[in-house]
Subunit: 385 residues, 2 copies
Amino acid sequence: MKKVLVLGAGQLARMMDLAGSPLNMDVKAFDVRTNNVVHPITPEHKYGGLAQGIANADVITAEFEHVAHDVLAQCQASGKLLPNSQAIKVGGDRRLEKALLESSNVANAKHIIIENKADFERALTQLELPLIFKSALEGYDGKGQWRLKSAEQAEAIWQEMSAFIDAATSSVPQGIVAEKMVPFDREVSLVGARNIHGEISVYPLTENHHTNGVLSVSVAAPINDALQAQAGQAFKKMAEALDYVGILAIEFFQVGEQLLVNEIAPRVHNSGHWTQQGADTCQFENHLRAISGLPLGSTQLIRPTAMVNILGEDTLPVETLAIPSLSVHWYAKEKRAGRKMGHINISGDTELMLAQRLTQLAQLLDKQAFPDLAEFASKYLAKVS
Amino acid sequence: MKKVLVLGAGQLARMMDLAGSPLNMDVKAFDVRTNNVVHPITPEHKYGGLAQGIANADVITAEFEHVAHDVLAQCQASGKLLPNSQAIKVGGDRRLEKALLESSNVANAKHIIIENKADFERALTQLELPLIFKSALEGYDGKGQWRLKSAEQAEAIWQEMSAFIDAATSSVPQGIVAEKMVPFDREVSLVGARNIHGEISVYPLTENHHTNGVLSVSVAAPINDALQAQAGQAFKKMAEALDYVGILAIEFFQVGEQLLVNEIAPRVHNSGHWTQQGADTCQFENHLRAISGLPLGSTQLIRPTAMVNILGEDTLPVETLAIPSLSVHWYAKEKRAGRKMGHINISGDTELMLAQRLTQLAQLLDKQAFPDLAEFASKYLAKVS
């Protein structure tokens, strides 16, 4: 039995455990809030602290990129951490991420790193408005972001940003990346795996929709070969540059037929949850296969599949379960406004069937809890009809 | 969170837990050997004895039909047991099973219940040879069965059978059912669910192959409508007669275009494991949905899928994982000769693709551990080519 320790004890560790048990893997999770090693499905049981968790593990991985650097160092020193700590750090710091994109020659939005007011002013003059400013550390799900549309906002935003930088308590200094806001056609992401032997396998590109900066819907459907190849090339360059092992997710802005990398996540990713029902091998299993030296499982799309995030709700109308090819995945978390509580996967033999089922789902769900779903489903239905 | 207690802590309870966690169900299992309630994935943690398990559960179910009658009575008295204790008892006693088949008017093999030598002699004269004798209690996987091909064997077999009956220690007297051996064309089974509201949904008929009396391969592929309807009718009659709630499996002998019931299993069933990859909703989830008052999930076949049992082995050649659309499910059990240790699910977009992958799999696996697989795969490939 392979023993896996996951840094982080949230839903991603939980779903790794559910995928790992059938593979004869014993998945434990290090809860960074309590410093306890727990079993993800029955977290009431503790298995000591980090040192013991590291000692007991055959392989260590992470479910999030904002792991404290001392924890990463301790894991890296054990020789068991995959992906390696540098790859995790790159995913957790937009400055390193941008440096990697540049050195790997992967297309991304024009940007400037801001450490002081002079940098900020340089960004205002050298990048075209509108601009988006993103904190270098801890910036996902719409937190630590500012949008500047006209020069009059500049001083107010600078005040907010510099207060944000000063308030940071991390051992690594906080910073800001300024980017030209890309007038993109859509957001897509690529989730793929690279294993210990350098074998790479990527899933089909997924189209993502955000509501208030948080992913709400991802759709995986047959994709244009050229676009898929372009994304695959970016994946290969970055995964190889990082000597990456495990699942890596890349978010892109699509502008016409070009993909610009928005950000990467060195872990299994919300936009890959559809793989649990829509792909031969789900991302959680492929992550475990990759870090355990096993062959990767096929990443082929079985049939068009969408993932709908459940935010801030801990129940659904029971009739939703009567929709064919629909699976609900709850994370057993305490209800809190806006929190990712679970997700729904829904498939159809064709995109039309998927769009019809999404429409049916949107009609059953609470409009306040799923504010954009009905509109999304109706547009999608119109597109594929 | 719905709390489910499963009577029995084997692989079926384990797979119910893996299917139940995403549905926000807390699945515990009562280990009948140790009288402890455990968590199926981390059985090192105990949660008290049966009384406590019953008190803590919202619903109680079983993973096997040979539950001691006092345990069943205790669970039934709680008002939480589904399926009901009578349905479980029928599945655990061939005499009751035959009585149900007769009273529900469901076709089955001609038979006589044997309690003494006079019954035995009546069976010899009233049923045509060859005969098969099956113990009424605890008779699955080829144990407690005798085949009589010629009259000269009769006395020796009677000696063995009467010793077997006398050796029984169950609170219910052991008995024997004599059946005319049916010259069947193939064995098929139907797995289906009936929920609290009487809603029924059945999976496609599966073709089953046994090796030394133990299931080795099941194949689910598109099936002839008339045959499927015939099986569905038998399911409906029996499930309604038993006021059954949960997954019920029915094994049939197919003779020409007729299906004769061989036996029933009042639980999730080995011949339904393919549903984990090959169906919209797996049998474990549908069992939990059924007993929890939820709508049933679709039982539609996604694509042709086969299940291969892993018997007495605790590793597989690593290259098997490189076959596309292949999933391994280990049960975390200690290795023992002939023991069900896990299973492999393998799918193809077409039956031809499935047969090719099965052939590839058979070539990689150890011939002694999977003695009939290569021959099965080669015949299947010839049939669908």
